[in-house]
Subunit: 381 residues, 2 copies
Amino acid sequence: MRGFDTSEFAARTERAQNKMQASGLSALVLTTEPEVRYFTGYLTRFWESPTRPWFLIVPASGKPIAVIPSIGAALMAETWLDDIRTWAAPDLADDGISLLADTLREVTLDDAKIGLPDGHETHVRMPLADLRRLQQTVGQRDLCGDDGIVRALRMVKSSAEIAKIETACAIAGRAFQRVPEIAKEGVALDAVFREFQMLCLDEGADWVPYLAGGAEQGGYTDVISPASDTLLQQGDVLMLDTGLVWDGYFSDYDRNWSIGSASQQVKSAYSALIEASDSAFEIARPGATAAGLFQAMNSVLSRHDADTGAGRLGHGLGMSLTEWPSLIPTDHTVLEPGMVLTLEPGIAVGGKILVHEENIVITEEEPRFLSPRAGMELPEI
Amino acid sequence: MRGFDTSEFAARTERAQNKMQASGLSALVLTTEPEVRYFTGYLTRFWESPTRPWFLIVPASGKPIAVIPSIGAALMAETWLDDIRTWAAPDLADDGISLLADTLREVTLDDAKIGLPDGHETHVRMPLADLRRLQQTVGQRDLCGDDGIVRALRMVKSSAEIAKIETACAIAGRAFQRVPEIAKEGVALDAVFREFQMLCLDEGADWVPYLAGGAEQGGYTDVISPASDTLLQQGDVLMLDTGLVWDGYFSDYDRNWSIGSASQQVKSAYSALIEASDSAFEIARPGATAAGLFQAMNSVLSRHDADTGAGRLGHGLGMSLTEWPSLIPTDHTVLEPGMVLTLEPGIAVGGKILVHEENIVITEEEPRFLSPRAGMELPEI
């Protein structure tokens, strides 16, 4: 099923409002695509345009209020919201700031604390000059942080959200299965990238916001570069890492292939990656921590050269390609049922790196793979 | 040719530094993908991940300095930069802010003004709490606006940039030509969206960040909705509007088709759109203004019902899907050779809307179509 029942948005809003009350916040102001969509279901690729700001206010009670450019009015009217206020953006003199400030004054008291997500992995999507002007325009009201409320909500997915991520993961799995159709010795890496995106679409992706990877002898240099036109050759390890979207939710995992036979060193490194992600999977239950999953993987990887520069060994996943928590030694987030995580161990081998990635969901009991778990052996093409 | 000669980045930096001197700015701090790429050539789809902040400092003289997560070090080292400072992001305690502040203290005096893009169409891509902490950490230095410097630079494209946009436009043109292969009565709109993206890739797009459109009887309701699974039927007007990327530069234009015969009302409205974009094209020369192009189109459209809610009739185009200027009555930006614009007239017809869009470049003499100009008549499928 596409979209969500209205009850889903009502429940999210109620949970936010309960937390707001506990934190002494009279309203939230949200400005980014996933934040606005989380409370409304407002789904459009139009956010690709950086021109117009979009605002959503979550008041202390009642439904959220949209303060948005008129171009979005018709689509926002299809959501569960009742109160949609628009202006003719872009307005070079006042791009929605007065309308936003007026609305905030209407729904909060003079000394209110108004929360904006301000922590890790967030930003405020409006011009800095407008943010400063908003602060001046709302009088004594304090534009403060949101006390991690949006993070706490989004980090634990509903079953309806998990189903969407699982659909996205299944689409990616079918596309990965078909990689031998498009990749072999003598084919350029940028052609593989292009055709892999076509496979993702052909298998049902709505769109493919993210694709990275590499292919070099015995590994790759990094995992974020665009594709070159270098031809695949025997001894390359090809890696494709895609973040594709179905109904607004991402998959994010990779697969590796050896072009021709892999060296024993590469085979051994790949096995260590699988062993590492399995070791995290085994302990990924409620009560374990993000740091604990890191340590589980790192204890396997540190028998090899584990320094890939990636900075972490996995992360949350959902409406964004990457979300909280981070699988790092200092992230002590306690796992809860409904958290969706990537396990993303990396290893250095002969001056190159190899990275493996799976997507899992935390349940009351054992975790569950959302990506179809890769085998122990590096496949050869 | 992919990428740019180093001289391109040196020239951009020198122009910025000349403007910084005139504005009394000792450094720029840049945080978003196009801003960082503009001065470095750093091209990666990894920005899809919102987790890590990335910083680029343009000092008063010398090359820019990158202050970035270690995961980007290898790729940034392939650019023309010499000074690349990294930290192991994500760092929950200090995600690059100390390193950024230290670097700013090193390259500026105590009372320096440090510019961040703060105007229309910009945002600061770092957590709000980190921005506030940065302000406290740099002492007496003033984190102010950039005086529109980045806007002024990016708005006027080099010939190398224009060539990339033209390549992207040509790819889109070939994909649009092939739409009759995938769209006809009885096909679902979401299948058309999926397969059109495949056509864009097949014709050479690196990726397809943006696709919107619609198909309803005699027009569509808006131009930003995702595709439904409604089947195309006789009398629908199908519109596809794509922003595809080649080597980091966008095309952004649309095409319309009638499924079966179009009504006289729709044909007439479509002709008005073409007449409107032509009327703007004819005056799009150095010295004309963005507002002037709006007025030229609006004078045609206002003979019909021109209220589509879009808020403008075109915009700049380049490294982002939409850029300055806006074709609105209040944007008095004077056109210069090298500006790339979309002409995007819209019209209301029978409760629906129609929108047409072309991409042009301003030259010393006549403008030039980068998109293959559509014909006067609405094509039928």
